[in-house]
């Protein structure tokens, strides 16, 4: 399952995973998650925050909630003690962060001075730029060094609010002594006890034919992505979409749904033009045969141009 990153450039959709853009799931994907109960968080419009996942449990029950409503309700439902707890937690976090920052900057300055002295370039007034470049030369992951910059840049109390609303990451312990917590606006609450409904009424209900076909192909290990770009319902990849070309342009149908031959011709031609096969599929409406248990009762038909005519 891979979803689609939100707000990317059309030319480089998948590559932007590293920018931490929100991930939009297809209805079928979200539904499958709910059905399989593998994830815990979610939002209406099936927009999930990709990064937020890092500090939440990946096991549990997938629940779809309407974000703003659920958030408001959950906050309302908090007891006074809860609120006090959260508040103190927040203050603690801030203190910890400030402390860590201060220690770190001192440590880094020392290190920088050490370095500079060692290389014989010691000046009385080390410039900030050199400091950060030295910082980078250590084996710090790129991501972290940018965080440093942000934290350093914001510095005092005044910038804290701004930081909270823009920064989206909660960095984990990287194994070294350093630790930063960049609070998200709602992270404390989220960590504490956001009372999300365990079963939401607004579970996405994709058209049954589509969902059945999606589930079937997914169970066979295919990765599906939305097919609008290619003129079909799903594009099915035999593996990671970043590594493979897709194989199939999928159209799902009800078992007795009529399909005009013009659509079949169009599908076949469409697929052959981009070296894919056009697939129509649907849940078979009869006794599921014992000898094809692997098929979930879904029948598929693949169409390619015959090469003549």
């Amino acid at each position: 399952m891979c979803g689609t990153l939100f707000g990317t450039l059309p030319q480089a959709q998948q590559q932007n995973i590293f920018l931490g853009l929100p991930l939009e799931l297809m209805r079928e994907e979200a539904r499958l998650l709910v059905d399989q109960r593998e994830l815990q968080w979610g939002k209406k419009n099936i927009i999930l925050d990709w990064i937020a996942g890092s500090n939440r449990s990946l096991k549990g029950v997938a629940t779809i909630v309407e974000d703003s409503l659920a958030h408001r309700d959950a906050v309302k439902a908090l007891s006074e003690t809860d609120k006090a707890d959260i508040l103190s937690l927040k203050i603690q976090e801030q203190d910890k962060l400030m402390l860590a920052n201060r220690e770190e900057s001192i440590k880094r300055k020392e290190a920088a001075i050490e370095n500079a002295k060692a290389s014989g370039k010691w000046k009385t007034k080390p410039a900030r730029a050199s400091e950060s470049s030295i910082d980078k030369s250590k084996e710090t992951p790129l991501f972290e060094s940018t965080l440093d910059a942000i934290v350093d840049g914001v510095g005092g109390e005044g910038g804290r609010e701004e930081l909270a609303s823009t920064a989206q990451r909660t960095s984990a312990d990287d194994g070294s002594q350093r630790q930063y917590v960049i609070p998200m606006a709602s992270s404390a609450i989220g960590l504490h006890s956001l009372r999300l409904p365990r079963e939401a009424e607004n579970i996405p209900s994709p058209p049954d034919a589509r969902y059945q076909v999606y589930k079937y192909l997914q169970s066979l290990g295919y990765f599906m992505s939305p097919g609008l770009r290619f003129g079909c319902q799903f594009v099915a990849y035999p593996g990671d979409p970043l590594r493979f070309h897709s194989h199939f342009l999928v159209k799902s149908l009800q078992w007795d749904e009529e399909l005009s031959m013009l659509d079949l011709v169009g599908g076949g031609r469409l697929g052959t033009g981009v070296k894919k096969a056009w697939m129509m599929a649907g849940l078979e409406q009869r006794d599921i045969e014992a000898d094809r248990p692997e098929s979930h009762g879904v029948r598929t038909f693949c169409v390619e141009w015959a090469g003549f005519g």
């Binding site: 059309p10 959709q13 609008l228 011709v265 469409l270 052959t272």
Partner: protein, 485 residues
């Protein structure tokens, strides 16, 4: 550095070897192209007599007019062709060779039932059987082109295989030698060959779609071929993935002396129409007699336009040679608008369903034919019609017509049920692959009440057709990154 230059030489040699047999065909051996401007001088199968302008003081022009007045041209402007309606093909068939030629030459009516476009089956069959007196047909050119393309692809596949093999060997060898990967130079020599082959294939493909290319006038009419620009299209959709082979050869830090053995030159491609004729000795002069199995087939809309709008076609059935009346034709066509045909009893001329697909298709056909377009079937591109500016031999179709019935005057009838966005996009994609613009043609269908009683009026059919309204919406995919000029 020595490496690279050797590489270059090898590449050049390789491409030369591959290139030579393939560069030879389509253009050089091409027979002279017929002059289509002369053949298709008349846009319609209607004979018009131009009388010179009447100049009162010039007795000669007066005389001419008097002559025309008293002795009108023997052949009146109405030439009538005879077509037979066939329930088997659900269309009108023309078998008289002169009529076939005339209808094709003057307005590109119909299609050879065994050809892509112009009826050329007889010629093809005669050549296939060894006749030397007939010229090459467009189908044969297409076929040869497809063969070439296939050959190229085989070659490419072989190259890639070789390349992969080589890399594997090198890898193995390297592992044996050093056991560690070092800073060797990547080999790119032969992947370059692959790339060049790729471009050549593309080149071939492009000549196929090139509309102005003289040798293949009717090519595109028969082109459900894997559309050529697929590679580019993939890229444009952000799906670009480097060929695995190339990745391999570029990133593998192995250094191997470039192989100087250029790939074996392929024997020049022999054009093979059929396995048994290719080996046969062809006598210098040979005439073959073949029974023509082909007819010119008119779509119902074409036939109706010729019969009704132009009045140059009379339609008979296999049962009797008596031409059908216009209402009879109308009814027959309404019945056979879909497969399986509607039962005889279901169609009443006094009270027919204006939502009949023959009528809707005909209205659109009539609309564009009247505006001077040559209208052909669009089945190969998953649309209803294709529009040609002058005709298939002159240029490719520029527009693809998609008919969408609209029921604004009907009560409680939903429009375009069951169509989703991706469907529309599939149509535009197929057509942009072949550089056509999709035009959605909305046909506003009148209600049954509106067309009731038409048969009591004189020229009631005109009234009926007048009730249909047509709106056109041209559609083109707009990609921000690529539409900046």
């Amino acid at each position: 550095m020595a490496d690279t230059s050797a590489n270059g030489a090898a590449t050049a040699a390789a491409t030369a070897a591959i290139g030579s047999p393939l560069n030879k065909p389509p253009h050089s051996a091409k027979p002279k192209r017929p002059n289509y401007n002369v053949i298709h001088a008349d846009p319609l199968p209607v004979v018009l007599y131009h009388s010179p302008t009447l100049i009162p003081h010039n007795p000669i022009s007066l005389l001419h007019h008097l002559y025309l007045y008293f002795f009108p041209p023997v052949q009146s402007h109405k030439v009538t062709y005879i077509g037979v309606f066939s329930p088997v093909t659900m269309s009108v068939e023309i078998r008289d060779p002169t009529a076939v030629l005339d209808l094709w030459n003057k307005g590109f009516w119909g299609k050879g039932s065994l050809s892509r476009s112009e009826p050329t089956w007889l010629n093809r069959e005669m050549r296939r059987l060894g006749d030397t007196q007939v010229g090459e047909t467009s189908e044969e050119i297409t076929r040869r082109r497809r063969d070439q393309r296939k050959e190229m692809k085989k070659e490419r596949a072989r190259k890639e295989k070789e390349e992969l093999q080589k890399i594997k060997e090198a890898e193995a060898k390297n592992n044996e030698d050093t056991g560690s990967v070092s800073n060797g130079k990547p080999i790119i020599a032969d992947s370059k060959v692959v790339v060049e082959l790729e471009t050549e294939i593309k080149g071939l493909d492009e000549t196929v779609t090139e509309p102005s290319h003289p040798s293949v006038p009717t090519e595109e009419a028969g082109l459900p071929t894997p559309p050529p620009s697929s590679d580019e299209l993939n890229t444009s959709d952000g799906e670009s993935k480097t060929d695995i082979v190339n990745i391999g050869s570029e990133t593998l830090p192995v250094s191997v002396p470039p192989t100087s053995d250029s790939p074996p030159a392929q024997p020049a491609k022999v054009v093979r129409f059929d396995s048994n004729t290719s080996t046969k000795e062809i006598p210098v002069e040979k005439k073959v007699i073949v029974q023509n199995q082909e007819h010119l087939q008119l779509m119902l809309s074409e036939a109706f336009f010729l019969a009704y709008a132009l009045g140059v076609l009379s339609v008979t059935t296999a049962d009797s040679p008596k031409p059908l009346s216009l209402p009879e034709i109308f009814k027959l066509f309404l019945r056979h608008s879909i497969f399986p045909p509607l039962p005889e009893s279901s169609i009443s001329l006094t009270n027919f369903n204006p939502d009949n697909s023959f009528l809707i298709n005909y209205v659109v056909y009539h609309h564009f034919r009247s505006l001077g377009w040559v209208v052909k079937s669009g089945v190969k591109f998953s649309v209803d019609y294709l529009l040609y500016k002058r005709g298939p031999v002159f240029s490719h179709a520029e527009f693809a017509i998609l008919i969408i019935p609209s029921y604004s005057r009907w009560e409680g009838k939903e429009e375009n049920v069951g169509r989703e966005w991706y469907w529309l996009h599939s149509i535009t994609r197929v057509n942009s692959q072949v550089k056509k613009t999709v035009v959605l043609v909305y046909v506003d269908v009148p209600t049954a009440d509106e067309v009731k009683g038409w048969d009591c009026e004189t020229d009631g059919l005109k009234t009926v057709l007048g009730k249909y309204r047509i709106r056109e919406v041209a559609l083109r995919r707009w990609i921000p990154g690529r539409n900046r000029e």
